[in-house]
Symmetry: C2
Amino acid sequence: MTIKDIARLSGYSLGTVSRVLNDHPDVSEQARERVLAVVREHGFQPNSNARHLKMQAQSAVAVLVKGTQNLLFADILERIQSRLQDNGEEVYVAYLDEDADEVQYAVQLARLRRPKGFLFLGGDLEFFRTEFRPLTVPCVLLTNSARGLGYDNLSSFTTDDAAAAGEVIDYLYACGHRRIGVLGGNLSGEQISSQRLRGVYAAMARNGLDFDPARQYEPCRYSMAEGYRAARRLLEREPGLTALFALGDVIALGAMRALADQGLSVPGDISVVGYDGTSSSAYSVPRLTTIRQDTAQLAERGVQTLLRGIHYAQPPIHEAVPFTLLQRESVRVLGPAP
Amino acid sequence: MTIKDIARLSGYSLGTVSRVLNDHPDVSEQARERVLAVVREHGFQPNSNARHLKMQAQSAVAVLVKGTQNLLFADILERIQSRLQDNGEEVYVAYLDEDADEVQYAVQLARLRRPKGFLFLGGDLEFFRTEFRPLTVPCVLLTNSARGLGYDNLSSFTTDDAAAAGEVIDYLYACGHRRIGVLGGNLSGEQISSQRLRGVYAAMARNGLDFDPARQYEPCRYSMAEGYRAARRLLEREPGLTALFALGDVIALGAMRALADQGLSVPGDISVVGYDGTSSSAYSVPRLTTIRQDTAQLAERGVQTLLRGIHYAQPPIHEAVPFTLLQRESVRVLGPAP
DNA sequence: CTGAAAGCGCTTACAG
DNA sequence: CTGAAAGCGCTTACAG
């Protein structure tokens, strides 16, 4: 069943059928009805390969997810997927390693499949800076800001990571914590973790706290397994810590497990704060105090902006979406020092 | 840059270039080298729309994930994705609601995009029974068995759910538990939960235990939030339960949180067993005793079978993949009754 | 408003 | 082994 059959069956020509299918204004009401009737009767779907061959574009939107274990991305992805589906868009999803070069992958994919647009879940600005040029379709980066890069087809939505991380430190400070360890991400590159780390530095400084990364910081990837190991290493090195700030909930969850295995109670012996506000953090024992990133808004604004960019040329948008510090059960208020 | 340019640049004809690109045997070594050199030099990628238009098929493999909150599927999906990628296949992923009609969705997608094959993560046999016919490409169903359906293009790989669920009940019985509640899935349809429930019934019977679903069973969807609520409802109705068997880890995690909120300790006051063996279950406090489904094998065998089915006609395979009862920390051995 | 025709970038019999 | 040609199923100027 092709458009040709529809033409034959409806008594109109190929061209007219195509115009009806594409909602062109210059078709008679009669032709439209007749053609649509036949189309419906046979449940006809135009062949998308042929269509896209002519139109020189894929209908699909590509979503590149960086890091597979990150529950936050799973959450955002789910929302993106459903919003895109509501808009009749097809979605091509690829999971990349946390340290993979997402931009290089996108460039390849663009040549191969010509998606209409890209949505990046996580990304290293360094890659965007040096390799993004060949991408000409609308792109949106989520959870990292591309403002400084100046590409006119790249928008970004993010939590103000520096501010949020700073708020965590301020909060811990206010709760009486002075010896705070930090877990997750890494010092090199410009991944999501770098802004959070920057916020940590600033907040430590303004609270008059020393922060020596070599001692108080332990890098790791975003997974429970890595969080577990990183927490062990950090605690071995710095047993006197009273609080741990993990740069992701999955890391925090792994760390809490490590603490339990050391016979340490959270928050009795040591406090833990996460980052992301994934649903797992609300069901852990104890419930995790964490920064809630607004995944609904991130997804919503991201998809909206991408779709707009696809349909009309639009200047790029760079926006911070509000966050909340969720004070739950994993932080203890320290009494005055004895 | 099209195949035409490559032809011009290499001094060969369109046809020869195409043959080189498609690894046809009847091209001279010289032509192959010459063409490949030009292709590499320009980083040429053939236009997949044009290609598939001729070949009448998409290159993509479609993966339909049923239920977005199910960490088990996230785990399997990740593996599928990477195996498929290794094989140079493109992957189209769609997340469906847990109660959505995945077969209807697939039929639509087949018309629209003509994927080479389908991989179903979860599925209701009822839908397969009544609507699968129009699907003619190779398909694989994971985590539910399609053996009884008799379609020759549908394979399936699953854990022996009935046996595994039975083993959980046997284990709880052996630990001294007599009043066991069950959480998750539903009684209607033929979703994943139905085989597990069947195993529960059989095991209860063989251990001489009464099992009244109206009292001891509480259905719910696969998410922590639902597990939480279901556990509350069940415990309110049947406060005397000494153990809970949740048909999914996410449900179990939600339930453990609910228990904690009731001031009940796990496993001190009540034992909990999950199902799936997701990584979260290994990091919870306490670590969750659960059935480990072999996601690696499920993914591996699924992809392998699908790829084979795509390349050569093959009779369908229906296989059970081995499971393990992971005895961890959430079950207490009850002393002899006082 | 509608039809006939060109063409999107490939693949694959068909000759030679 | 290679080239010329037809054709996959569409869209879209171009006439009328």
